[in-house]
């Protein structure tokens, strides 16, 4: 009996309480949508919401990992912009180039992430500042590559974003779920995953325990770079071309689902499943606001308020005695 109680209390305190909160918000949002419009609760609409969640899902997945280690990656927006331009610019309408270019840009994104991680490890500067700096560098390179939309992609390149299994289930969004499950599995069942939490929980202890904290940090920023690049490929698939500011809004947008999903900015607590739910919450919120005919301007207001609401729920214990 006591074990049950303890497990429950652990469940509630272990960041998984976040799931309950997000699920609650999702349900509320769903009810509001259903009351507002009879077109809301249709499979058509919900499949659209699902489809539109993919881009945010990839980049937030990477962001979750950096935040779990107590860091943050503010360079993802710039990485998305650069990679998006390179994708459409290098493919430039040639179907034969699709595979090599996509592979190249995914590797490139990962390498930029490795550099972020290495800079964090070597300089000891707060990741916020490091990735702000590297983000500026990457953005500058993107602008050197081109000042406007660059290149084009073959028509069928839109399969990633718009393709549907059996004409219903979005391919991109399903790939996103698969990747979330993969990362969840890695976090739970591998030593590297365990160390991600440990490094975020207490970096000093991680060093004293001789855990491979440098490798962990480089790893999470590499992952973040990879997923940012994947988001870029997705966005090119969706819009047909990359621009120097394709990713501009994604830096901050990628953080919202993470914190709404219950991952603490302080590190060591939370997880990717919460983030996935957070992504769906954001997508659903936008959809409901569209149904409410709220101007896009006020959608921003509501998003800001949701962040405040969600975050105030996970109030950390006051450290002051």
């Amino acid at each position: 009996m006591q074990a049950v109680l303890q497990n429950t209390s652990r469940y509630l305190s272990g960041g998984r309480s976040g799931h309950l909160i997000v699920i609650g918000l999702l349900v509320v949002m769903f009810i509001v949508g259903a009351v507002l419009s009879d077109r809301f609760a249709t499979s058509n609409n919900l499949l659209n919401v699902y489809e539109q969640s993919a881009g945010l899902a990839f980049v937030s997945l990477g962001q979750t990992l950096t935040i779990l280690t107590g860091g943050i990656d503010l360079s993802v927006g710039s990485i998305i912009s650069l990679v998006a331009m390179l994708t459409s610019g290098l493919i430039n309408g040639n179907p034969a180039m699709v595979l090599p270019v996509v592979l190249f840009v995914l590797v490139l994104g990962t390498l930029i992430g490795v550099m972020n991680g290495a800079a964090v490890v070597v300089t000891g500067v707060h990741p916020l500042i490091v990735t702000l700096g590297t983000g500026a560098i990457v953005q500058g390179v993107a602008l050197l590559y081109g000042l406007g939309p660059t290149g084009k992609v073959p028509l069928n390149f839109d399969t990633f974003a718009y393709g549907r299994i059996a004409g219903k289930i979005s391919i991109g969004a399903t790939i996103a779920i698969a990747l979330f499950l993969l990362v969840w599995f890695i976090l739970r069942y591998t030593r590297s995953g365990r160390y991600v939490y440990a490094v975020g929980d207490d970096p000093h202890a991680a060093r004293l325990m001789a855990l491979p904290h440098k490798r962990v940090l480089i790893g999470v920023y590499a992952a973040s770079g990879f997923f940012a690049a994947l988001t870029a490929v997705y966005l090119v698939s969706r819009f047909g071309v990359g621009q120097p500011y394709t990713g501009a809004n994604y830096t901050l947008a990628s953080i919202t689902p993470v914190v709404v999903g219950g991952t603490m900015l302080a590190g060591g607590r939370g997880g990717v499943i919460g983030t996935l739910l957070g992504v769906y919450l954001v997508s659903l919120l936008n959809n409901v606001l569209n149904f409410m005919d709220v101007s896009s301007h006020f959608q921003l207001v509501v998003q800001g308020l949701v962040i405040i609401l969600a975050v105030s729920v996970y109030v950390e214990k006051r450290r002051v005695a």
Binding site: Y189, Y197, A198, D201, D202, M209, A210, R269
Partner: protein, 496 residues
């Protein structure tokens, strides 16, 4: 088991160790003592592979070794339990025990079930009563320490190093710890035990090595050494008396502070105390008995439920730190770095922090006056520093403590509460702090001294209040204070 020869280690600006030697044998508990700054931590870190020595050789388990890092030393059977635990608060006990050595299945994946059962077996084997699925942050400090020890036992530990393990626990917990350590010694583990408390060393250890100023002084058998000899080896001079002479005349001095029936939900129950002008009152008890919480509540830094606080006979409602300061109450907390000092600021700023408004005109600080006062206090408390503008982060623990005491030792102060005032400071600084406390009492300040060290309680207190599990179990006057009476009250099970 371990033998160090000619070890030197320098850091930019400091020569931490010079020509150091140390020998620890298998199956012994070897004490390492010395004042703060004597080089104990650096020596520990060299043995544990955190630092590489500049010169000298380390022999371990019959071979000349050179650690590439802490992981290397650990693999060879050296395990350190630092004063600050190396635990991950949001991982479970079992996960913490096996961190770095995760229990995995054939696929290389973490085996959660085996992690739990192995942890349970390990804890059971050494009689440690902790649920392996609990999150470490939900454990008491003593249980966290047991988890630290369990971590050492995962490996074939040959040398266990403990850095001031009793700084955070007391009473029966210490007894339990010592039992475990003796069991390990009898199982053939070499133990290096670092402590400030001589009593413990005589109780637990077989041999002792004394360090001073980064140099080796002597190694002695505990059975054939006197306490005074150890002290004089440590501080370089003989000390006949730790505690200052008391001027007893306070039995009927006026009551300055009276607390009636104060409670803190879950921590303190119906506590009532009185403090008199010029009197040093000891507040004894185990760690976790609610003494610090009571102090915080009196000072208004922790919410209390019910109860009344009177200063000079006037009731003060809704106590806050600001009100407490205005009423002349000061609090020196146990955790200097975490609570007492703004490490980024200099001595002067830290001294005047609580009385800043006395140093301002039109909202601007009178730096000349602030420095003048700071200089006077540096002199009167013999604080070792270059001057009022020295950053407190560069000072030793004892000197930091004096800065905090100086902060409160103003003419306006009527009551000063000191929570473990000599924790983590060396013998020399201890004597200084005792002297300062006595001087303050002689000036008429009522002092409440929270301490877990019996000699200190007995040596300093005019009167002793004892707490146990949040309840005041008794009060002893001068003649009644002995080790036995205090321990009896601190551990007594009252009729329930």
């Amino acid at each position: 088991m371990l033998s160090l020869q000619g070890i030197s280690k320098g850091f930019p600006g400091v020569q931490a160790l010079t020509d150091m030697q140390l020998e620890v044998r298998q199956g012994e508990i070897h004490a390492l003592i010395g004042e703060n700054g004597a080089g104990k931590s650096t020596l520990t870190r060299v043995v544990a592979g955190v630092h590489q020595p500049d010169t000298g050789s380390i022999d371990f388990d019959g071979a000349l070794v050179s650690w590439s890092g802490p992981g290397d030393a650990k693999r060879h059977g050296i395990h350190v339990i630092y004063q600050e635990f190396v635990l991950f608060p949001h991982l479970s006990v079992a996960e913490n025990i096996f961190i770095g050595h995760e229990r995995r299945n054939r696929l290389g994946l973490i085996d959660h079930r085996r992690t739990r059962s192995d942890a349970r077996n390990l804890l059971d084997k050494f009689g440690i009563d902790v649920d392996p699925t609990t999150l470490v942050r939900d454990l008491s400090v003593a249980d966290q320490q047991m988890v630290e020890i369990a971590k050492a036992l995962v490996h074939d530990v040959k040398l266990l190093i403990l850095d001031e393990p009793t700084a955070v626990i007391s009473g029966p917990e210490v007894t339990v710890l010592f039992e475990r350590l003796r069991a390990l010694r009898n199982a053939g583990v070499a133990i290096l035990y670092i402590s400030h408390r001589l009593e413990e060393i005589f109780d637990l250890c077989d041999r002792v090595t004394v360090l001073k100023d980064g140099k080796y002084v002597a190694t002695r058998m505990i059975a054939s050494v006197e306490r005074d000899e150890l002290i004089s080896l440590m501080v370089g001079r003989s000390l006949s008396e730790l505690f200052p002479k008391r001027n007893t005349q306070s039995a009927d001095s006026p009551v300055v502070l009276e607390v009636r029936n104060l409670s803190i939900p879950g921590r303190v129950h119906n506590a009532s105390i009185t403090l008199r002008r010029g009197e040093i009152t000891g507040l004894a008890g185990m760690v976790g008995a609610g003494r610090s919480e009571l102090a915080f509540a009196i000072f208004g830094a922790m919410r209390s439920s019910g109860g009344q606080i009177f200063v000079d006979g006037r009731e003060i409602h809704d106590m806050t730190p600001r009100r407490a300061i205005a009423e002349g109450i000061g609090l020196v907390t146990e955790d200097r770095k975490g609570q007492g000092l703004a490490m980024n600021l200099n001595i002067a700023a830290n001294m005047t922090a609580s009385t800043l408004s006395q140093f301002t005109r039109f909202g601007l600080i009178d730096f000349a006056r602030e420095f003048k006062v700071a200089k006077q206090e540096i002199e009167s408390y013999r604080i070792a520093c270059r001057g009022p503008s020295t950053s407190v982060s560069l000072m030793s623990g004892g000197n930091q403590q004096k800065v905090i005491v100086a902060r409160w030792a103003r003419t306006s102060t009527k009551v000063l509460i000191l929570d473990e005032p000599t924790r983590g400071v060396d013998v020399g600084a201890k004597i200084e702090i005792y002297r300062i406390m006595q001087e303050l009492a002689d000036q008429g300040i009522a002092i409440l001294m929270i301490s877990s060290e019996l000699p200190e309680i007995i040596g300093m207190s005019e009167r002793v209040i004892v707490m146990r599990e949040g309840v005041i179990t008794g009060e002893l006057t001068r003649d009644e204070i002995t080790e036995e009476t205090v321990i009896e009250l601190a551990t007594r099970r009252y009729a329930s």
